[in-house]
Amino acid sequence: MSKKITEEEVILRCQKSDPLAQKYLYEKYAGKFLGICKRYFANLHEAEDVMVMSFVKIFEKITQFRGEGSFEGWMKRLIVNECLTQIRKKQILFVDAETQHNLVDNIETAEEILNAEDLLTCVQRLPDGYRTVFNLYAIEGYSHQEIADMLGISEGTSKSQLSRARNLLQTYVNELLGTDSVSMTN
């Protein structure tokens, strides 16, 4: 397959179940989509399983893509939905928790020192419920209302889960930076 091939052509050929186009699409987006899955699942094998299922769904539903909006965005939504489907199957309990504010004062230092792998480790350390809500709100950009609808929880639960996730992440970042004394409680 030539390098100059356009995304539209790839989509058309994938819609005709062209194996070469399918593999091209996989090779182009597999790394990025596995990164998404790893944010939602602490276990690598679990993340890979979800990514495989997501790609299968992409190739099955690619005929439904009408070119409205970004193709990558359409695929990302499918990936996230598949992640949430698997999380729901695990029957994660989203329990309201007390809001604690663990603040990170040296955020600029963290940005310089910590890389993506470090921060991914912090996210993966979060409980499933906290991690899911934080991913959806902070990284994917969904609102609390959307998150509540997607996960079948109340909006308040989504907010409290996010708050707890932030506090824990601040703690994990401080641990990585070696500044345990920074945590404060309101």
Partner: protein
């Protein structure tokens, strides 16, 4: 501000985060996704397999039919060859029969049959056929051999054969009876079916050819020797009873 900044920290670092997948992941995906072109190939493969499955037995059948034809042709060739042997053998048998007494006739036939390893059916058929053949064609064969090769031995055969008949008629009543029985046997030979008749004609035409080829050696055959002896007996004009020629 700090809360938002921690969100931004993770967003910036993890939004475009990529991870290298395992090697076998595509194989797992490929097994589960639809492949229309592969299905078409699969259809054509099935089609070719079906064609093979249909044509292989047909080919084997044709081969068997051809083999049967070949074996049938071989059998016909065998059937054509066996009368030649029986013809030759019955020639010898007639020699013996003409020389022996009527009582010894059946024994001689049996012993000749045993010697030549002929089956009883073939022997009887050949006997019937060859009696008729010899009765009808023996003189003609000898004549053609005599004229074509121009040898003394073959010309003597004709005369000697007649002489043998004369001797048998004049001298012994038993031989006369024998001849009568022979003629009866010839009369008793029923006409063969049309198919077999055709074969017999072919056989006669074939049986004449090798005799012409072997005409030079006729004097050295048993028949030739026997006829020579008969001639000697006639020249001596002795009242000696007919000589019994040993079977071997």
């Amino acid at each position: 501000m700090e809360k938002k900044s921690i969100d931004k920290l993770f967003e910036d670092k993890l939004k475009d985060y990529t991870s290298t997948p395992s090697i076998n992941l595509w194989d797992r995906i490929e097994k589960q996704i639809p492949h229309e072109q592969k299905q078409e190939k699969g259809f054509f493969r099935r089609f070719w397999w079906l064609c093979l499955l249909l044509f292989v037995p047909v080919g084997i059948g044709i081969w068997y039919i051809n083999q049967d034809k070949n074996t049938a042709q071989k059998n016909e060739i065998v059937m054509e060859h066996t009368p030649k042997q029986s013809n030759h053998d019955t020639n010898e048998m007639i020699d013996v029969v003409s020389s022996e007494n009527q009582k010894d006739k059946e024994k001689a036939e049996n012993t000749e049959e045993v010697k030549n390893n002929l089956t009883q059916k073939y022997a009887q058929d050949a006997e019937n056929k060859d009696f008729s053949i010899n009765q009808k064609k023996n003189e003609k064969n000898i004549k053609t051999e005599a004229t074509s090769e121009k040898e003394i031995s073959s010309t003597n055969q004709k005369a000697e054969e007649k002489e043998v008949k004369q001797n048998s008629n004049e001298k012994t009543e038993e031989k006369a009876k024998e001849e009568i029985k022979e003629t009866k046997k010839v009369d008793s030979v029923k006409p063969q079916p049309a198919k077999k008749g055709v074969k017999v004609i072919i056989k006669l035409s074939e049986s004449e050819e090798p005799k012409e080829g072997k005409a030079r050696d006729f004097a050295s055959t048993k028949t030739g020797k026997f006829l020579r002896k008969l001639k000697q007996i006639k020249e001596g004009e002795t009242g000696i009873p007919p000589v019994q020629i040993p079977l071997n």
